[in-house]
Protein backbone atom coordinates (compact mmCIF):
# COMPACT_ATOMS: atom_id res chain seq x y z
CA UNK A 1 0.00 0.00 0.00
CA UNK A 2 2.77 2.36 0.90
CA UNK A 3 4.86 1.17 -1.97
CA UNK A 4 3.84 3.85 -4.53
CA UNK A 5 4.46 6.57 -1.96
CA UNK A 6 7.81 5.04 -1.21
CA UNK A 7 8.57 4.99 -4.91
CA UNK A 8 7.52 8.58 -5.29
CA UNK A 9 9.79 9.50 -2.43
CA UNK A 10 12.63 7.55 -4.01
CA UNK A 11 12.05 9.30 -7.30
CA UNK A 12 12.00 12.68 -5.63
CA UNK A 13 15.21 11.77 -3.88
CA UNK A 14 16.78 10.62 -7.12
CA UNK A 15 15.74 13.85 -8.81
CA UNK A 16 17.23 15.84 -5.98
CA UNK A 17 20.41 13.83 -6.15
CA UNK A 18 20.68 14.23 -9.87
CA UNK A 19 20.35 17.99 -9.38
CA UNK A 20 23.40 17.93 -7.14
CA UNK A 21 26.02 18.34 -9.85
CA UNK A 22 24.18 21.35 -11.20
CA UNK A 23 24.86 23.18 -7.98
CA UNK A 24 28.44 22.05 -8.13
CA UNK A 25 28.79 23.55 -11.59
CA UNK A 26 28.10 26.99 -10.26
CA UNK A 27 31.39 26.86 -8.42
CA UNK A 28 32.99 27.78 -11.70
CA UNK A 29 35.19 25.93 -14.06
CA UNK A 30 38.83 25.14 -14.03
CA UNK A 31 41.22 22.38 -14.65
CA UNK A 32 41.95 19.60 -12.26
CA UNK A 33 45.50 18.38 -12.42
CA UNK A 34 45.22 15.38 -10.13
CA UNK A 35 42.80 12.55 -9.61
CA UNK A 36 43.33 12.43 -5.89
CA UNK A 37 43.34 16.16 -5.23
CA UNK A 38 40.85 17.95 -3.06
CA UNK A 39 37.79 18.56 -5.18
CA UNK A 40 36.52 21.64 -3.35
CA UNK A 41 39.85 23.36 -3.31
CA UNK A 42 40.22 22.64 -6.97
CA UNK A 43 37.05 24.51 -7.70
CA UNK A 44 38.77 27.45 -6.13
CA UNK A 45 41.90 26.93 -8.15
CA UNK A 46 39.76 27.31 -11.08
CA UNK A 47 38.37 30.73 -10.46
CA UNK A 48 41.92 31.78 -9.81
CA UNK A 49 42.99 30.19 -13.07
CA UNK A 50 40.55 32.28 -14.99
CA UNK A 51 41.59 35.62 -13.65
CA UNK A 52 45.24 34.89 -13.93
CA UNK A 53 44.86 33.49 -17.35
CA UNK A 54 43.68 36.93 -18.33
CA UNK A 55 46.78 38.43 -16.84
CA UNK A 56 48.64 35.84 -18.78
CA UNK A 57 46.93 37.16 -21.85
CA UNK A 58 48.18 40.64 -21.11
CA UNK A 59 51.66 39.35 -20.51
CA UNK A 60 51.69 38.23 -24.10
CA UNK A 61 51.84 41.85 -25.12
CA UNK A 62 55.57 42.16 -25.56
CA UNK A 63 55.84 45.56 -23.99
CA UNK A 64 54.41 44.40 -20.70
CA UNK A 65 56.49 41.30 -20.71
CA UNK A 66 59.66 43.27 -21.15
CA UNK A 67 58.78 45.64 -18.38
CA UNK A 68 58.25 42.71 -16.12
CA UNK A 69 61.42 40.87 -16.93
CA UNK A 70 63.37 41.94 -13.91
CA UNK A 71 60.65 41.84 -11.39
CA UNK A 72 58.16 39.14 -11.99
CA UNK A 73 58.36 36.14 -14.19
CA UNK A 74 56.05 34.33 -11.90
CA UNK A 75 53.38 36.98 -12.16
CA UNK A 76 50.87 35.05 -14.11
CA UNK A 77 49.39 31.75 -13.43
CA UNK A 78 50.60 28.82 -15.45
CA UNK A 79 48.23 26.11 -14.48
CA UNK A 80 50.03 24.52 -11.65
CA UNK A 81 49.52 23.98 -8.12
CA UNK A 82 47.85 26.85 -6.38
CA UNK A 83 44.41 26.83 -4.93
CA UNK A 84 43.03 30.01 -3.60
CA UNK A 85 40.38 30.43 -1.02
CA UNK A 86 39.02 33.91 -1.25
CA UNK A 87 37.26 35.66 -4.04
CA UNK A 88 38.57 38.93 -2.63
CA UNK A 89 42.08 38.01 -3.66
CA UNK A 90 40.91 37.32 -7.15
CA UNK A 91 39.30 40.71 -7.30
CA UNK A 92 42.49 42.32 -6.09
CA UNK A 93 44.36 40.70 -8.94
CA UNK A 94 42.38 42.59 -11.47
CA UNK A 95 42.74 45.98 -9.81
CA UNK A 96 46.44 46.55 -9.80
CA UNK A 97 46.20 50.26 -9.17
CA UNK A 98 44.06 50.09 -6.03
CA UNK A 99 46.91 49.67 -3.61
CA UNK A 100 45.02 48.78 -0.45
CA UNK A 101 47.37 47.61 2.25
CA UNK A 102 47.03 43.86 2.63
CA UNK A 103 45.75 43.33 -0.88
CA UNK A 104 47.58 40.93 -3.13
CA UNK A 105 48.52 41.18 -6.77
CA UNK A 106 50.09 38.64 -9.09
CA UNK A 107 51.80 41.12 -11.38
CA UNK A 108 53.61 44.29 -10.39
CA UNK A 109 53.05 47.59 -12.11
CA UNK A 110 55.95 48.69 -14.32
CA UNK A 111 59.05 50.46 -13.01
CA UNK A 112 59.60 48.94 -9.60
CA UNK A 113 62.83 48.84 -7.68
CA UNK A 114 63.96 46.12 -5.31
CA UNK A 115 64.65 47.43 -1.83
CA UNK A 116 66.02 45.30 0.97
CA UNK A 117 65.39 46.72 4.43
CA UNK A 118 65.96 44.91 7.71
CA UNK A 119 66.65 41.73 5.78
CA UNK A 120 63.28 41.81 4.08
CA UNK A 121 62.73 42.14 0.37
CA UNK A 122 60.38 44.81 -0.94
CA UNK A 123 59.32 46.05 -4.34
CA UNK A 124 58.88 49.81 -4.44
CA UNK A 125 56.59 50.84 -7.27
CA UNK A 126 55.69 54.52 -7.41
CA UNK A 127 54.32 55.29 -3.98
CA UNK A 128 53.34 51.70 -3.23
CA UNK A 129 55.38 49.11 -1.39
CA UNK A 130 54.94 45.43 -2.07
CA UNK A 131 56.30 42.44 -0.22
CA UNK A 132 56.77 39.37 -2.42
CA UNK A 133 55.58 36.01 -1.20
CA UNK A 134 54.77 32.61 -2.61
CA UNK A 135 51.07 32.00 -2.88
CA UNK A 136 50.98 28.35 -3.71
CA UNK A 137 53.79 28.08 -6.22
CA UNK A 138 53.02 31.45 -7.75
CA UNK A 139 54.88 34.61 -6.78
CA UNK A 140 52.51 37.27 -5.51
CA UNK A 141 52.97 40.70 -4.01
CA UNK A 142 51.21 41.98 -0.93
CA UNK A 143 50.77 45.71 -0.50
CA UNK A 144 52.39 46.85 2.74
CA UNK A 145 52.92 50.15 4.49
CA UNK A 146 56.19 51.86 3.67
CA UNK A 147 59.02 50.19 5.62
CA UNK A 148 61.48 52.26 7.64
Amino acid sequence: MNRPIQNLLSITLVLLLSCGPMFAQRGGGGTRTSVNGNVNRNTNVNSNHNVNANINHNANVNVNKNVNVNVNHGGYYGGCCYHNNTAAVVAATAIVTAAVVGSRVYALPPACTVVIMNGLTYQHCGSTWYQPQFVGTTTAYVVVTAPR
Binding site: V35, N50, A53, N54, C80, C81, F134
Partner: protein, 264 residues
Protein backbone atom coordinates in the same frame (compact mmCIF):
# COMPACT_ATOMS: atom_id res chain seq x y z
CA UNK B 1 -11.57 -3.21 -16.31
CA UNK B 2 -10.51 -2.63 -12.74
CA UNK B 3 -8.23 -5.57 -13.05
CA UNK B 4 -6.60 -3.91 -16.02
CA UNK B 5 -6.22 -0.61 -14.21
CA UNK B 6 -4.76 -2.36 -11.23
CA UNK B 7 -2.39 -4.15 -13.54
CA UNK B 8 -1.22 -0.91 -15.17
CA UNK B 9 -0.73 0.65 -11.78
CA UNK B 10 1.23 -2.39 -10.69
CA UNK B 11 3.39 -2.19 -13.81
CA UNK B 12 3.83 1.53 -13.39
CA UNK B 13 4.82 1.22 -9.79
CA UNK B 14 7.11 -1.67 -10.63
CA UNK B 15 8.83 0.33 -13.34
CA UNK B 16 9.02 3.36 -11.06
CA UNK B 17 10.61 1.16 -8.47
CA UNK B 18 13.08 -0.09 -11.05
CA UNK B 19 13.84 3.50 -12.00
CA UNK B 20 14.31 4.36 -8.39
CA UNK B 21 16.64 1.46 -7.93
CA UNK B 22 18.69 2.15 -11.01
CA UNK B 23 18.86 5.83 -10.04
CA UNK B 24 19.98 5.08 -6.53
CA UNK B 25 22.62 2.57 -7.48
CA UNK B 26 24.02 3.30 -10.94
CA UNK B 27 27.47 2.28 -9.90
CA UNK B 28 27.79 -1.46 -10.15
CA UNK B 29 26.70 -1.78 -13.76
CA UNK B 30 29.13 0.92 -14.93
CA UNK B 31 32.16 -0.30 -13.05
CA UNK B 32 34.31 -3.01 -14.54
CA UNK B 33 35.94 -4.67 -11.53
CA UNK B 34 38.95 -5.60 -13.68
CA UNK B 35 39.65 -1.92 -14.36
CA UNK B 36 39.51 -1.11 -10.66
CA UNK B 37 41.72 -4.11 -9.92
CA UNK B 38 44.30 -2.85 -12.44
CA UNK B 39 44.32 0.53 -10.73
CA UNK B 40 44.78 -1.09 -7.34
CA UNK B 41 47.58 -3.29 -8.66
CA UNK B 42 49.36 -0.19 -10.02
CA UNK B 43 48.86 1.61 -6.70
CA UNK B 44 50.25 -1.31 -4.74
CA UNK B 45 53.25 -1.42 -7.02
CA UNK B 46 53.87 2.32 -6.72
CA UNK B 47 53.93 1.95 -2.93
CA UNK B 48 56.75 -0.60 -3.19
CA UNK B 49 59.07 1.75 -5.02
CA UNK B 50 61.75 3.18 -2.74
CA UNK B 51 63.47 5.59 -5.07
CA UNK B 52 62.44 6.68 -8.50
CA UNK B 53 62.77 9.49 -10.95
CA UNK B 54 59.94 10.40 -13.25
CA UNK B 55 59.66 13.01 -15.94
CA UNK B 56 56.27 14.31 -16.95
CA UNK B 57 55.74 16.19 -20.18
CA UNK B 58 52.40 17.79 -19.58
CA UNK B 59 49.76 20.17 -20.80
CA UNK B 60 47.10 22.07 -18.89
CA UNK B 61 44.17 24.00 -20.27
CA UNK B 62 43.41 27.39 -18.77
CA UNK B 63 39.89 28.61 -19.27
CA UNK B 64 39.51 32.31 -19.95
CA UNK B 65 36.53 34.19 -18.58
CA UNK B 66 34.86 34.05 -22.00
CA UNK B 67 35.10 30.25 -22.01
CA UNK B 68 37.99 30.08 -24.44
CA UNK B 69 40.55 27.40 -23.68
CA UNK B 70 44.28 28.09 -23.74
CA UNK B 71 46.78 25.27 -23.39
CA UNK B 72 50.06 25.66 -21.53
CA UNK B 73 53.00 23.27 -21.68
CA UNK B 74 55.23 22.17 -18.89
CA UNK B 75 57.82 19.62 -17.86
CA UNK B 76 58.19 18.22 -14.38
CA UNK B 77 61.23 16.29 -13.29
CA UNK B 78 60.69 14.60 -9.98
CA UNK B 79 63.09 12.57 -7.85
CA UNK B 80 61.77 10.76 -4.81
CA UNK B 81 63.58 8.70 -2.19
CA UNK B 82 61.08 7.30 0.26
CA UNK B 83 60.32 7.86 2.97
CA UNK B 84 61.57 11.39 3.41
CA UNK B 85 63.27 13.02 0.45
CA UNK B 86 61.88 14.62 -2.65
CA UNK B 87 62.99 17.06 -5.29
CA UNK B 88 60.96 18.45 -8.14
CA UNK B 89 61.77 20.81 -10.96
CA UNK B 90 58.91 22.57 -12.71
CA UNK B 91 59.58 24.20 -16.05
CA UNK B 92 56.86 25.85 -18.06
CA UNK B 93 56.42 28.89 -20.24
CA UNK B 94 56.16 31.21 -17.25
CA UNK B 95 58.16 29.56 -14.51
CA UNK B 96 61.23 27.61 -13.57
CA UNK B 97 60.92 26.38 -10.04
CA UNK B 98 62.60 23.89 -7.78
CA UNK B 99 61.05 22.18 -4.78
CA UNK B 100 63.22 20.54 -2.13
CA UNK B 101 62.23 18.31 0.74
CA UNK B 102 64.89 16.67 2.90
CA UNK B 103 62.79 15.23 5.73
CA UNK B 104 63.12 18.37 7.86
CA UNK B 105 62.20 21.35 5.73
CA UNK B 106 60.55 22.22 2.48
CA UNK B 107 61.91 24.90 0.15
CA UNK B 108 60.42 26.40 -2.95
CA UNK B 109 62.76 28.36 -5.20
CA UNK B 110 61.64 30.46 -8.14
CA UNK B 111 64.66 30.67 -10.37
CA UNK B 112 63.35 33.42 -12.63
CA UNK B 113 62.43 35.72 -9.75
CA UNK B 114 65.33 34.47 -7.59
CA UNK B 115 63.10 34.20 -4.54
CA UNK B 116 62.90 31.26 -2.20
CA UNK B 117 60.94 30.29 0.86
CA UNK B 118 61.62 27.59 3.41
CA UNK B 119 59.22 26.13 5.95
CA UNK B 120 59.60 23.32 8.50
CA UNK B 121 58.26 20.02 7.21
CA UNK B 122 56.92 16.79 8.71
CA UNK B 123 59.02 13.59 8.51
CA UNK B 124 57.52 11.78 5.51
CA UNK B 125 56.70 12.56 1.88
CA UNK B 126 53.05 11.67 2.44
CA UNK B 127 52.76 14.06 5.36
CA UNK B 128 54.56 16.92 3.64
CA UNK B 129 52.24 16.58 0.64
CA UNK B 130 49.21 16.91 2.91
CA UNK B 131 50.68 19.80 4.88
CA UNK B 132 51.58 21.78 1.77
CA UNK B 133 48.09 21.23 0.45
CA UNK B 134 46.23 22.12 3.62
CA UNK B 135 48.38 24.94 4.97
CA UNK B 136 49.80 26.60 1.88
CA UNK B 137 47.56 25.53 -0.97
CA UNK B 138 50.46 23.92 -2.81
CA UNK B 139 49.64 20.80 -4.76
CA UNK B 140 52.79 18.73 -5.08
CA UNK B 141 53.51 18.03 -8.74
CA UNK B 142 52.43 14.52 -9.78
CA UNK B 143 50.73 14.11 -6.42
CA UNK B 144 48.71 11.14 -7.69
CA UNK B 145 51.85 9.01 -7.78
CA UNK B 146 52.00 9.31 -3.99
CA UNK B 147 48.28 8.87 -3.41
CA UNK B 148 47.52 5.81 -5.50
CA UNK B 149 47.69 2.68 -3.41
CA UNK B 150 47.29 4.65 -0.19
CA UNK B 151 44.16 4.50 1.97
CA UNK B 152 43.38 8.06 0.81
CA UNK B 153 42.85 6.79 -2.73
CA UNK B 154 39.77 4.76 -1.93
CA UNK B 155 38.33 4.26 -5.41
CA UNK B 156 35.26 2.38 -4.31
CA UNK B 157 34.16 5.54 -2.52
CA UNK B 158 34.08 7.91 -5.46
CA UNK B 159 34.44 6.15 -8.80
CA UNK B 160 31.18 6.02 -10.75
CA UNK B 161 32.51 4.43 -13.93
CA UNK B 162 35.42 2.17 -14.84
CA UNK B 163 36.16 0.78 -18.31
CA UNK B 164 38.98 -1.34 -19.66
CA UNK B 165 39.44 0.33 -23.06
CA UNK B 166 42.01 -2.14 -24.35
CA UNK B 167 45.67 -2.40 -25.38
CA UNK B 168 47.50 0.76 -26.39
CA UNK B 169 51.13 1.57 -27.02
CA UNK B 170 52.87 4.52 -25.35
CA UNK B 171 56.38 5.37 -26.57
CA UNK B 172 56.64 1.84 -27.96
CA UNK B 173 55.69 0.22 -24.66
CA UNK B 174 52.65 -2.03 -24.44
CA UNK B 175 50.07 -0.60 -22.08
CA UNK B 176 46.45 -1.16 -21.19
CA UNK B 177 44.18 1.85 -21.38
CA UNK B 178 41.49 2.41 -18.77
CA UNK B 179 38.83 5.09 -18.42
CA UNK B 180 37.27 6.21 -15.15
CA UNK B 181 34.57 8.61 -14.09
CA UNK B 182 34.04 10.41 -10.84
CA UNK B 183 32.11 13.53 -9.96
CA UNK B 184 33.44 16.45 -11.96
CA UNK B 185 36.17 14.41 -13.58
CA UNK B 186 36.60 11.92 -16.41
CA UNK B 187 40.06 10.47 -16.59
CA UNK B 188 42.04 7.93 -18.56
CA UNK B 189 45.19 6.13 -17.63
CA UNK B 190 47.60 3.97 -19.59
CA UNK B 191 49.24 1.36 -17.36
CA UNK B 192 52.33 -0.46 -18.52
CA UNK B 193 51.85 -4.20 -19.05
CA UNK B 194 54.22 -6.74 -17.55
CA UNK B 195 56.17 -6.77 -14.30
CA UNK B 196 56.21 -3.00 -13.85
CA UNK B 197 52.61 -1.73 -13.79
CA UNK B 198 53.54 1.96 -14.02
CA UNK B 199 51.27 4.78 -15.16
CA UNK B 200 52.64 5.97 -18.51
CA UNK B 201 50.02 8.46 -19.56
CA UNK B 202 47.22 10.28 -17.84
CA UNK B 203 44.43 12.45 -19.24
CA UNK B 204 42.09 14.40 -16.96
CA UNK B 205 38.97 16.13 -18.23
CA UNK B 206 37.26 18.43 -15.78
CA UNK B 207 33.60 17.83 -16.49
CA UNK B 208 31.98 20.37 -14.19
CA UNK B 209 33.34 23.20 -16.31
CA UNK B 210 31.44 23.80 -19.55
CA UNK B 211 34.76 24.20 -21.40
CA UNK B 212 35.77 20.69 -20.29
CA UNK B 213 39.43 21.64 -19.87
CA UNK B 214 42.09 18.95 -20.07
CA UNK B 215 45.27 18.13 -18.27
CA UNK B 216 47.64 15.53 -19.68
CA UNK B 217 50.81 13.88 -18.43
CA UNK B 218 53.17 11.69 -20.41
CA UNK B 219 55.40 9.91 -17.92
CA UNK B 220 58.92 8.54 -18.42
CA UNK B 221 60.35 6.50 -15.56
CA UNK B 222 63.80 5.82 -14.21
CA UNK B 223 63.62 3.18 -11.50
CA UNK B 224 67.33 3.29 -10.66
CA UNK B 225 68.24 6.97 -10.47
CA UNK B 226 71.66 8.07 -9.26
CA UNK B 227 71.70 10.97 -6.84
CA UNK B 228 73.37 12.25 -3.71
CA UNK B 229 72.04 13.90 -0.57
CA UNK B 230 72.68 17.38 -1.93
CA UNK B 231 69.93 16.83 -4.46
CA UNK B 232 67.35 17.35 -1.73
CA UNK B 233 68.76 20.39 0.04
CA UNK B 234 68.59 23.93 -1.19
CA UNK B 235 71.73 26.01 -1.42
CA UNK B 236 70.66 29.60 -2.14
CA UNK B 237 72.45 31.01 -5.18
CA UNK B 238 73.99 34.49 -5.12
CA UNK B 239 71.42 37.20 -4.69
CA UNK B 240 68.54 34.84 -3.93
CA UNK B 241 66.14 36.49 -1.52
CA UNK B 242 64.19 34.68 1.14
CA UNK B 243 60.50 35.48 1.23
CA UNK B 244 57.44 34.02 2.94
CA UNK B 245 54.85 31.49 1.78
CA UNK B 246 51.32 32.73 2.30
CA UNK B 247 49.18 30.49 4.46
CA UNK B 248 45.69 29.67 3.31
CA UNK B 249 43.01 31.50 5.23
CA UNK B 250 40.50 28.67 5.46
CA UNK B 251 36.95 29.45 4.48
CA UNK B 252 34.09 28.15 6.62
CA UNK B 253 33.64 25.06 4.47
CA UNK B 254 37.35 24.36 4.48
CA UNK B 255 37.42 24.53 8.25
CA UNK B 256 34.78 21.86 8.40
CA UNK B 257 36.78 19.79 6.00
CA UNK B 258 39.94 20.13 8.04
CA UNK B 259 38.07 19.05 11.09
CA UNK B 260 36.76 15.88 9.49
CA UNK B 261 40.19 15.33 7.98
CA UNK B 262 42.02 15.56 11.28
CA UNK B 263 39.56 13.29 13.03
CA UNK B 264 40.54 10.41 10.78
Amino acid sequence: MYKRLFCSIAILSFSLSLMAQSGAAPKNADIDPAAVAALNKMGTYLRTMGTFQVKSVQTTDDVLDNGQTIQTNGVIDLLAARPNRLRAEIISDDRHQLLFYDGKSFTIYGQLVNYYATVPAPPTIGEVIDKLDEKYGIEMPLVDLFKWGSPQADFARYITGAIDVGPSSIDGTSCEQYAFRQQGLDWQIWIQLGDYPLPRKLILITTDDDARPRHSQLLTWNLAPSFNDEAFTFDPPDGAQKIAIAEIAPSASDKKETKTGSSK
